[in-house]
Subunit: 156 residues, 3 copies
């Protein structure tokens, strides 16, 4: 039984972490099919074997190219990795550090909202500073959680 | 003692997660020496300080270039990051959500096999849709685990 | 209470993991403002909407370019992702595998020191093999932890 295994998922702050970590990871995973969509509609591929269905030999080679829409999605995907990986690690330790439930929920909700808004700001695209501010909000939330983890657990 | 610390590693589903998470991370780490191998054999580097042993001044500058074999390994490495990070986070929460051992093992084994096959399909390379299908299988396994996590732990 | 939730953060090896995982993630996060600093001072941007404050229309387009200093920081950031993600996952499982506290501390301290030195070697830059060796030290520490995890938890 789960309850015998661990009380982790009986704890509401840990359940909130599990929920928001899963949501932001699913959002990040969504970048892959979006990249594929733009690669196919813009006919812009990175690998020769991906262009075979568009023709043979020289006629397929012209689809080995970069496209600004594809590169934009890829930059958004990489920015997700750079920011969601710290959230995953620091957020897990934060959830284990005994935060107030309401404080923990506030951190997770703001981070999740900021990253979803960041993706919209990147892909539409919205004028700056929309994307920059949404990045900064998620960054600040992660720093705040890191402070709590180090205050609770510091062991050098 | 470990058993006093936590029962996590006494649980078979969690041990299975620990095993497969470590295997796919070691597989991902293997991309670094493979990149180094192609950089050295193709003499294609990104940093001026890396080319010093191949000559001085202008003669070394010609090795600051991109190479299709190097770029292929780097794309495989980035694809690993994009897919193994969600597996690490969602898989950990899934292992804590009390899955049936046989179901958990099935998820972890299919994901591990799919990612190893994906790397082979990328590096050999195998014709499409080999790489695309192996990517999709790992992706679907992660979505299935995310569904179980949200069903068990949802706390917005 | 934290103690009721889990004994994880009562364990000194786990607290050491929490401390060093947070430190290397904060170090990785530092790469984002460093990238922004070089993008602004070198006037080298990836997105048209980021160049608006530097002029309108054609005059802003010339800032959509790559710059060697910006690219160097971005390579360091990606190398962090490639190496810190395995440390996060394998290190967490290692901390749960019941290591001797002194052995665990040695692993975490060497990894943390190696990655901080790697960033310095990349950004200054120091001559090779400084960067290569610091990468290899962090890599070896992660392999050593993976060996302990698989020895303790192996369940295929």
């Amino acid at each position: 039984e789960m309850a015998k295994l661990t009380q982790l998922l009986d704890n509401e702050a840990f359940r909130a972490y599990a929920t928001y970590a899963t949501i932001v990871l699913l959002k990040m995973m969504l970048m892959s099919p979006i990249t594929a969509y733009f690669r196919i509609t813009r006919k812009a591929f990175a690998n020769p074997e991906d262009t075979v269905s568009f023709g043979k030999g020289e006629s397929a080679k012209k689809y080995l190219r970069t496209d600004q829409d594809v590169e934009r999605v890829r930059r958004g995907h990489l920015n997700d990795l750079e920011n969601i990986v710290p959230f995953l690690g620091i957020g897990l330790l934060y959830a284990l550090s005994g935060p107030e439930l309401s404080t923990a929920l506030m951190h997770f909700r703001i981070f999740g909202g900021a990253r979803i808004f960041h993706t919209l700001a990147y892909l539409i695209p919205l004028p700056q500073p929309c994307r920059g501010l949404s990045w900064a909000v998620g960054y600040a939330v992660t720093i705040s959680m890191a402070y709590k983890v180090l205050k609770t657990a510091l062991y050098l």
